[in-house]
Symmetry: C2
Subunit: 185 residues, 2 copies
């Protein structure tokens, strides 16, 4: 294959950027890799919790033959940024007008509450996939909503009012730490 | 079964305590649960990273039919304590005189270096199982050793000199945060 000079190196990233249907998790992983590569922050997605029930040992390797997905007990992402503990959950919704609260597990809410109380930076990142809009909502604002509403979903207008729209870029795809800088003391 | 008053409730913990062969991971999980229950710190073991290659869907559930263990890209434990980011790796060795450095992956060393540089609290916890001794060694001391030695293992004497012996207790089993308090500003 032939590429114009300088393009080949960034081939994968170029493809990723053009793929507008790329999911939130991939965008965040790409952004976190950017932060790590540039020594900005060390934030990782935790592995999916899996309960292994059957393993076979072949030669020097182990093959898992039966396992089950477990419910996560914390949020998916955490790490360190400018010496601070950072913690968040990321979710996509196909809903165009609101984000159903059932997308986040009860113990994940509790976890975010604990992180806030202990001085960490906690938030959620929600992508409205059909609108192609991604918002960061601080944990404190999430709890402001749940404490003052009996609604089972957060309207998009609430995200527009109290959340932060994360603009999509090339690299990092989602520069959410730029937004953290604006609200974190 | 009959138990004297007040014992039944703590049945599981009683058994655990008596089981002297209990492994380091179980001790740390028990200690972290204690910290969480008492609102002291929120520190979790990350799930083991697993690459899933075959899944079957039966009724409403998913059964993983083929999967493989992946090498972890970070340390196993992290979380928040008194507002600070905390990060560590825990290892057991059957060696009586030294801890082989090969027990920790290269990217885990790099990860701990990054955490230190960004203002987090990084360390390793090493249990010499045959001696029944568990030490906490600060990441800075770990790197002091690796930067000044070509040896492929850290002698027990180094742990005794620069590390901290973690006394085993009932609950928490390993009160390693008490030690963090002694060296963290």
């Amino acid at each position: 294959m032939n590429y114009p000079t300088g393009i080949k190196k960034d081939h994968n990233r170029l493809i990723n950027y053009k793929n507008r249907g790329m999911d939130l998790e991939s965008d965040l992983n790409q952004s976190n890799t950017y932060y790590i590569d540039n020594d900005i922050a060390y934030i990782y997605k935790k592995p999916t919790p899996i309960q292994v029930s059957k393993v076979e040992f072949i030669n020097k390797g182990a093959i898992i033959k039966e396992a089950f997905y477990k419910e996560p007990s914390t949020t998916d992402y955490n790490g360190i940024y400018k010496g601070h503990y950072i913690d968040f959950e990321a979710k996509e919704t196909k809903n165009k007008t609101s984000f159903p609260l059932a997308n986040i597990h009860l113990h994940q809410y509790k976890h975010l509450e604990n992180i806030e109380r202990h001085g960490g930076i906690g938030f959620i990142i929600v992508r409205f996939t059909l609108l192609d809009e991604t918002y960061l909502l601080k944990a404190s604002d999430l709890f402001y909503f749940t404490n003052n509403n009996k609604r089972k979903s957060i309207p998009l207008t609430f995200f527009k009012k109290r959340g932060f729209l994360i603009k999509e870029g090339y690299n990092p795809r989602l520069d959410y730490l730029k937004i953290v800088d604006t609200f974190w003391r």
